[in-house]
């Protein structure tokens, strides 16, 4: 597939820390193999920066196989680049053409402050998870597998929601920097299953309250999140979350009391 190496121009957002204003810096990426991943291309650029004694470009990455949710680049107007259903680490340089100008920005959201350059602090997601993204289990002997019958459709739907890796592409893509796709996936993956029932209504209230406290925007159902999600999480989750939330707040007095005690 590949036909020789590529030369590219990168416009990279450089920012020392959250308090100092950032700016774009232009770099040349030369002799890039089309078979490299986007992150490997940045590794090559960083190597040359280090050789020149310059500060390398900071960006988040970990597993580099699309499952950890660490990589987070906003490339040419798309979170995780122009291709569907992949993370930045799964994006290959053959997607771009020789001589192309590539603009690389960090996720932009008040709730995701820039740590340095392209790396942002996504601990807001961790705090939302800690607020309610768990189930209570009894300690003791291991229970048998499949002890609780779960219809396949429910198991499949819950698993689809559970594939969210918490990368924050939904927030990055949303014109309102809303985190509702992420939060709803986390609410739904547990709320649909029998194991998640005891905390179902307190969970949704606690996680939404934390989401609001973190300063994310509000959903306007534009659908950019769903289109850009590397794991193809569906917006249906947002409706499910809303349903549980309104149900708890408006029709389940016992659920709101539970929540009031927990705060």
């Amino acid at each position: 597939m590949s036909t020789g190496n590529m030369n590219l121009t990168l416009k990279v957002w450089r920012q020392k820390n959250a308090n100092i204003k950032g700016a774009f810096v232009t770099y040349k990426a030369e002799g890039i193999s089309p078979d490299m991943s986007f992150l490997e291309m940045l590794d090559v650029v960083n190597e040359s920066l280090i050789h020149k004694g310059e500060e390398p470009i900071h960006f988040d990455h970990d597993c580099r196989e699309g499952i950890c949710g660490m990589c987070s680049l906003y490339i040419n107007g798309h979170p995780h680049g122009p291709k569907n259903a992949i993370t930045t680490c799964q994006l290959h340089m053959r997607t771009f053409h020789d001589g192309e100008i590539i603009v690389i920005e960090p996720w932009r959201a008040a709730a995701f402050p820039v740590v340095k350059d392209l790396a942002v602090d996504r601990s807001a997601f961790d705090r939302i998870q800690q607020a309610g993204g768990f189930v209570s289990v009894n300690t003791g002997v291991t229970v048998d597998a499949n002890e609780i019958p779960i219809p396949k459709v429910i198991a499949d739907e819950a698993f689809n929601s559970a594939t969210c890796i918490g990368c924050g592409a939904c927030v990055a893509a949303c014109k309102n920097a809303s985190a509702m796709l992420f939060v709803s996936a986390k609410v739904t993956q547990l709320g649909m299953l029998p194991q998640g029932q005891p905390e179902r209504y307190s969970r949704v209230q606690a996680m939404v309250a934390q989401m609001d406290a973190e300063g994310f925007g509000n959903c306007t159902n534009t659908g950019a999140c769903e289109a850009e999600c590397p794991k193809e999480i569906k917006m249906t989750n947002i409706s499910r979350m809303n349903n549980d939330y309104f149900s708890a707040k408006l029709f389940r007095e016992e659920a709101t009391h539970d929540h009031a005690g927990g705060e």
């Binding site: 603009v103 932009r108 709730a111 809303s178 309250a209 959903c219 159902n221 409706s239 809303n242 309104f246």
Partner: protein, 261 residues
């Protein structure tokens, strides 16, 4: 009370208010269009003027009307609050244009809503306010010969300025005297700029509801494999096509008639 505040001050609570007021305003559009179709009856405004009189003098309708005005204000106010919050949620914007696929209308609800708000203010001050609180509206007398069912109309000058409506029968002729809102409508719709403004506003209605109607259902959590496609087609065909075209047809037809005279 704090629980109530917590619910409706939350992000989802504010969205719930947007969805419910929005859907209420949608139902109003159907009624408003239905009534205004009387403008197309070629009766010199007889039906339309009686309808306008009925709307402003029937107490249950008046109650719903004030609920409606409240909904418009709440919908606009919450839209403003949510938009400000959404802007604050991204203090530094992207340098590149966001290429994430999303419909044009869904990304421009604020702009479309602002056009609609301006339209509603002008529309209500020209017709509703003028009708109820000013003496700018002239009167008309409709004489219907009960034997032949033929109606003729003449201008009428009331004795008192607060005159609203009277119905009487003399010599087998029914005489109806009523405020002639129809004349004001016809006069407004003979102004080309006014007609253009109305048509633009109806485009705004179309695109606002193309996204808004189905979005309200999503917000309420009513998403279903079977029913969501029905909601989409109602939002598209009824609210984004039939209703705006119906409303836009009124100024256009009246303008063409006025130029033909």
């Amino acid at each position: 009370m704090s629980e109530f505040k917590q619910t409706f001050n939350s992000s989802l609570g504010k969205k719930l208010i947007m969805a419910l007021t929005g859907l209420f305003l949608c139902t109003f559009l159907i009624v408003h269009l239905g009534g205004n179709l009387l403008l197309f009856r070629n009766d010199d405004g007889f039906g339309f003027n009686l309808y306008a009189n009925f709307l402003t003098h029937f107490p249950p309708i008046e109650v719903i009307a004030y609920l409606l005005y409240l909904s418009i204000l709440v919908h606009a106010l919450y839209a403003l609050i949510l938009t400000i919050k959404n802007r604050k949620s991204r203090p530094v914007s992207y340098a590149t244009v966001n290429k994430s696929p999303a419909t044009w209308s869904s990304k421009n609800m604020g702009l479309l809503g602002s056009i609609l708000f301006l339209f509603i203010v002008i529309h209500m001050s020209d017709f509703w306010f003028a009708y109820k609180y000013s003496h700018k509206i002239v009167y008309k007398e409709y004489r219907t010969d009960l034997a032949t069912d033929k109606t003729t109309s003449v201008a009428y000058n009331p004795v008192t300025p607060d005159f609203e409506k009277s119905v009487s029968v003399e010599n087998n002729v029914e005489i109806v005297r009523v405020k002639d809102l129809h004349a004001r409508v016809a006069n407004s719709f003979s102004n080309l700029l006014y007609v253009i403004f109305y048509v633009i506003a109806m485009f705004a209605v179309s695109f606002h509801l193309l996204h808004g109607f189905q979005s309200a259902f999503r917000t309420l959590g009513w998403v279903h494999r079977k029913y969501t496609p029905i909601v989409y087609s109602i939002g598209t065909w009824l609210f984004a096509v039939i209703i705006p075209i119906g409303f836009a047809a009124m100024p256009v037809v009246y303008y063409l008639q006025s130029t033909g005279k």
